[in-house]
């Protein structure tokens, strides 16, 4: 079971309190009315899905109910860091 540090509660809690919410740092197109179908499809559906370090969003559903970001390895499942929304990761390729 993953043991996840919530950066808002400032405590480690068990995985069952959290839900994974997929890839982090996906920017909504700034001008949705003028995006092409390709850009919009990429934004909605296409993901990095790396085999290695992954920046992803989690929500502390049974705790503070806040969203935050996690840098986690998708093979070892090791969590390298958690950080608040709006902050940038310090680990990983696009850190």
């Amino acid at each position: 079971m993953l043991h996840i540090y919530c950066p808002y509660c400032e405590e480690h809690r068990e995985e069952e309190e959290f839900h994974a919410k997929g890839e982090a740092h996906i920017a909504r197109p700034a001008d949705p009315d003028n995006t092409t179908d390709t850009e919009w499809g990429d934004y909605l559906y296409f993901r990095k899905n790396p085999r290695g370090l992954h920046h992803e969003m989690w929500v502390h559903a049974l705790g503070c109910r806040k969203f935050f970001n996690v840098t986690r390895h998708t093979v070892t499942y090791e969590i390298l860091e958690t950080y608040k929304m709006g902050e940038q990761p310090t680990q990983g390729a696009d850190a």
């Binding site: 559906y45 990095k48 093979v75």
Partner: protein, 417 residues
């Protein structure tokens, strides 16, 4: 290829079963193939088989980084059904179902396909409305499907708790009598043996580390163990690792890889002669010929390639099973494992050309690929042979994520994701 028969079994018994032929060769790879299939699971092997059988293309290699059928083919819960809602998906899975029905004879290999029926339970009024809609859609597509009420379900599965006093009472189910289970390993081995007999090279323990692209077209693959192998066409059938191969080809896929766990119990006497699935309490169970209960449920919510999952998921799965079958509460679980499923946003597969010419992908089967194995191989082989997607595969192009023509099968998929 030595044909298997009852007579052959008796004959080999006379010399103490010491002279059986090896069921496939273990060849050194050639420098060039007409078609390379990356991934030696059920779908890849089926593709190679139908390429040789239906299209006469036998200069084919299947390249597998581990051993044949060692990925999701050997890790699933072996359920075969075709009761999907939308025409596109229903036609594809029903095509597979029809191939399943003659598969053992076709391959001369017993895949132990047992049409014991599948129940998809409904636990509330909306479930039942959705079931009625799906059953009607199935019947319009010529797929056998019925709506059962509580009594009808109880008659088929007398050990299930169908009383009104449960937390999630069973109000009814959809019932597909032609659905069932098959022996997963035998499917991979049967396709491998039959493909090998027609000249397909099965190359195991060989990992593809790069796709070689020249002028926008694929010309071969780079392997870790055997260097460069050239090819006219390449088909990637690598499930959870599809995203990794797509990256080698320089494009992205709308897939996310998740661990999906399953478990089997200790063997017990025959108690369940059908397959029970429930989306609402979220679990599914059947009993294998060996006697173990084969149990599965939801994916782990996070992305992962680790071929293992979290304990909370196992706990939720077993809660659901015990909710349905209180009689199983003291059955001990024997083994548990995880596979990596490549889930698509619309719970439907991708059978598609790619931005790289002559490179084809067959992926995104997510949590429900096993049931489609022969059908997937059949239409993918036709697509590779002709260079144009087979009509049954055409709606499952990658383009649908840009045009918006998704085929949303989350309701008929057995696993929520």
């Amino acid at each position: 290829m030595q044909r298997y028969s009852g007579f052959g079994l008796v004959k080999h018994a006379l010399d103490h079963h010491e002279n059986w032929q090896r069921i496939w060769r273990n060849p050194k790879p050639k420098d060039h193939y007409d078609v390379i299939i990356v991934g030696g699971g059920g779908h890849g092997l089926a593709t190679a088989y139908y390429l040789a059988k239906e299209h006469g293309i036998t200069n084919v290699a299947v390249i597998e980084k581990g051993f044949l059928g060692g990925g999701n083919t050997g890790r699933n819960t072996t359920i075969v059904r075709s009761n999907y809602l939308w025409d596109e998906a229903a036609h594809l899975y029903e095509h597979a179902m029809k191939l399943w029905e003659g598969l053992s004879q076709d391959l001369n290999y017993n895949v132990m396909f047992s049409q014991r029926g599948v129940l998809n339970l409904g636990h509330n009024l909306q479930d039942m409305r959705d079931i009625q809609r799906r059953v009607n859609a199935n019947r319009l597509n010529g797929i056998d499907s019925e709506v059962l009420d509580t009594q009808g379900v109880q008659e088929i599965v007398p050990h299930m708790d169908c009383s009104p006093n449960t937390r999630y009472p069973v109000l009814g189910a959809s019932w597909q009598p032609r659905a069932g289970v098959a022996r997963h390993d035998a499917v991979a081995w049967g396709f491998a043996r039959a493909a090998d007999a027609m000249g397909v090279d099965l190359i195991q323990q060989t990992e593809v580390v790069d796709l070689i692209v020249e002028d926008g077209g694929i010309v071969g693959v780079e392997t870790k163990q055997h260097g460069t192998i050239k090819a006219g066409k390449v088909g990637c059938v690598v499930a959870g690792n599809s995203g990794v191969l797509a990256k080698m080809g320089g494009f992205r896929l709308p897939l996310e890889s998740h661990p999906l766990q399953a478990l089997v119990s200790e063997p017990i006497k025959p108690i369940l002669d059908t397959v029970v699935m429930s989306n609402a309490v979220h679990g599914y169970v059947s009993q294998s010929d060996k006697g173990d209960l084969v149990i599965g449920a939801g994916i782990d919510g996070y992305n992962g390639y680790g071929q293992r999952g979290s304990y909370p998921t196992i706990e939720h799965t077993l809660q659901a099973i015990v909710e349905l079958f209180p009689i199983f509460s003291r059955v001990r679980m024997n083994r548990q494992w995880g596979g990596i499923v490549d889930t698509c946003p619309d719970a439907c597969p991708i059978l598609s050309k790619t931005p790289v010419e002559n490179l084809f992908f067959n992926c995104g089967w997510g949590t429900g690929g096993f049931k489609a194995t022969p059908g997937s191989g059949h239409v993918f082989a036709a697509s590779l042979a002709k260079g144009e997607m087979h009509p049954l595969a055409a709606p499952f192009s990658i383009d649908r994520f840009h045009t918006g023509a998704l085929v949303d099968e989350h309701g008929a998929a057995g696993v929520a994701h």
